[in-house]
Symmetry: C2
Subunit: 151 residues, 2 copies
Amino acid sequence: MKNTNEVINGLIVNMFNNLLVIEKNSLAATEHKDLTMTEWHVLEQIGLTRKTMTEVANQLKITVGTLTTTINRLVKKDYVTRNQAVDDRRFVYIELTRKGQLAFKEHELFHKNMVKSVVDKLDESDNEVLINSIDKLTQFFKQQYKDQIIP
Amino acid sequence: MKNTNEVINGLIVNMFNNLLVIEKNSLAATEHKDLTMTEWHVLEQIGLTRKTMTEVANQLKITVGTLTTTINRLVKKDYVTRNQAVDDRRFVYIELTRKGQLAFKEHELFHKNMVKSVVDKLDESDNEVLINSIDKLTQFFKQQYKDQIIP
DNA sequence: AATAATGCTTTGATACTCAAAGTATTATTT
DNA sequence: AAATAATACTTTGAGTATCAAAGCATTATT
């Protein structure tokens, strides 16, 4: 089955090379043209409930210091609010503004369309295989680098 | 099938957030610790035959100018050679040195292991579904942004 | 011979990233 | 209660990554 492996590997590499560019162009066609891809992904991780800096940084696998600078910009652009927690003032809560929520929903739509384009063309048992396969990939990662993965 | 879509989307996003970090750590464990991820991916695209600057830049979806600076560094680190084409001196051929080829094979190994971990656990018809699914994703990209995709 | 087109490099600017040092706050130890 | 440690975040310094636009050779077209 050497050939199968190579085909799958080629497709995965190709997919990864393309996805970011595609996503970027797709999102640039929305009203929120002032967002970089990093900023889009930060908005995606914050989601519709407030989060702490560390939570979001862990999910994105970046340092909190890096996130700080991105949040600075997102606050300036009015996509995010930043508030110190009242119960423990070491924590900072970041939360989407209304504008941020609108952007979030556009990003969500891109992903939904992407997945829909795949799933619609497969029958139910095929979907199970797909889920299973992606899950196997994730497990491959976890197995080799347990301590670095946030589940 | 709303739920299926959400599961698949979640897995994909998670996979993308993880992959680069995982790959980075895996490759940092090799002898070639002086390579950045961008540099690894350039080596991957050059492969075992010589390529022109434009070829590689197109595959990676970066500008030729960006590639120039990366190649500068890879030449300095002795992973790549750069030679003007004799038949048409506008072209520049880039090619892996022996050291570059060794690195290339290590990168290849990472990908092979990754795919193997998935494929080994699926039977033959499942593999077809997986290929089919990834292919659908690629088609989704192509369909919406035809002019930007290099096939 | 002049002009256009092509392939690459350079330049200037911004974004992204990390590690390490610094600040403020809370928890633990003595 | 005071000193120390731990935690959450920000700032700083430095290198990498990226692009658009301008520039340089070389080749193709007019």
